[in-house]
């Protein structure tokens, strides 16, 4: 059973998925970050594949992506860093990235390397669900790899159903129509969270974009299974503490 499914079958609410750009802050911090997140209570890890033009991301994650690329990060190196990571990490791990990098790497090789290293799911925000169905789905299904798609407050009910059907693992609910890391008041989005909740979708839901502290985490969790935090964690890693200490303080701040 895929580790993402195992998690959602055991834990129904307040799931904390933390995003970090791979190869950040230092090139070989990827594993250190994952270990710290597991040690201090994250439920799931989302590793960002750095890209030169990350169109869903705000300035903080853009900057981390640029730093990772300047550090020399590539998708090939990421898979090398992930070799045998399952010896020490048991949390579900997703890769998040942009389609072009995967396309140039080769979709088939990408899926194979995900499965071989022990990745549980993939988020590609610029891969349309319809394109996924024709080209990628057979590959993903064959290897039991989850593909997580995103919806926004503007997504029509009909489209939400299509995206929910294409998604597996969970559905990524973008909190508002903006890039990552905007400090919008997400309590305004309660009707949206409620509306999606009432649709009784097949997938569990996690809210991302704009979740940054205990209060926004709690608001996001009210009608969903949990939340995804990226920007606030990247900022925590830049605070001057070492990776382990920064992660410990960050997670304490979110869940207590």
């Amino acid at each position: 059973m895929n580790r993402i499914d195992q998690l959602f079958s055991k834990k129904k609410d307040h799931i904390l998925n933390v995003y970090c750009t791979a190869g950040f802050p230092a090139l070989h911090d990827t594993r250190r970050v994952m270990k710290a997140l597991q040690a201090h209570g994250a439920d799931m890890i989302e590793l960002g594949i750095p890209f030169s033009d990350p169109l869903a991301d705000g300035p903080v994650i853009q900057q981390s992506s640029k730093q990772a690329l300047d550090n020399g990060m590539t998708l090939k190196l990421l898979f090398e860093q992930l070799k045998d990571f399952r010896d020490e990490i048991h949390l579900p791990v997703l890769l998040m990235g942009y389609l072009n990098v995967v396309m140039q790497y080769g979709a088939e090789k990408f899926v194979q390397d995900c499965v071989q290293t022990g990745i549980d799911g993939v988020i590609l925000p610029d891969l349309p669900a319809d394109e996924y169905k024709t080209v990628y789905e057979p590959l993903f299904k064959k290897h039991g790899l989850h593909a997580v798609f995103l919806i926004t407050p503007e997504t029509s009910e009909e489209r939400v159903r299509v995206i929910d059907a294409a998604s597996s693992g969970f559905l990524y609910m973008v909190s508002s129509s903006s890039t990552t890391g905007r400090n919008k008041d997400i309590s305004m989005q309660e009707n949206y969270f409620k509306r999606i909740h009432q649709m009784q979708l097949k997938n569990p839901t996690l809210v991302g974009f704009g979740i940054r502290d205990h209060e926004s985490f709690e608001q996001a969790c009210k009608y969903t299974n949990g939340a995804i935090i990226g920007t606030a964690y990247i900022q925590a890693l830049q605070s001057g503490d070492d990776v382990d200490m920064a992660t410990k303080k960050f997670i304490e701040r979110i869940i207590t």
């Binding site: 890209f51 030169s52 033009d53 169109l55 690329l69 590539t74 998708l75 090939k76 942009y98 389609l99 072009n100 990098v101 995967v102 396309m103 140039q104 790497y105 610029d126």
Partner: protein, 192 residues
Amino acid sequence: MVARFQSVISEEIKKQLKEKTGNELPTHVMACVGGGSNAAGTFYHFLDDISVQLIAVEAAGEGISSGRSAATTVLGRPGVIHASRTLLMQTEDGQIVEPHSVSAGLDYPGIGPLHAHLFRSGRATYLNATDEEALEAAFELTRLEGIIPALESAHALAKLKDVPFTEKDVVVVCLSGRGDKDMETYIRYMQH
């Protein structure tokens, strides 16, 4: 959507040509291409008139192999950017390469998918002009006609000398913008 809006350019070309020559079809239409919006509009109403040769001019920057260029049809390969699958200047890993052109409007690492198609299908011809050639052409038009073109449009003008025209040809070059905005670059070029 961009092509649809920009298509007023070729609509107007047809109208003006009809008045001037009695025939709304030229033999050649030329336009500069960065992302390709003005060229898309310039070509739009001629796409099905195959007697009309469509010529697009990309920015070669400091030269095709200088590492500082924006000539996507020469340097790009298929990829996905800004939600389009098209030709794209990129590294082996799929990171987008920073393009260069003296003109801000052509400084784009891809081309619109319509152009990728016209290039691949051969319906349009893609040439490229260097920064230097574009600057020369801008000054030439200024001297000959008293029209100061935008640096982008000057790329299209620069290739007039390279296309083997005959006397009977009716050639339209889209002057997509005015040179007022490029005065600083022009003055700097004059002084060097």
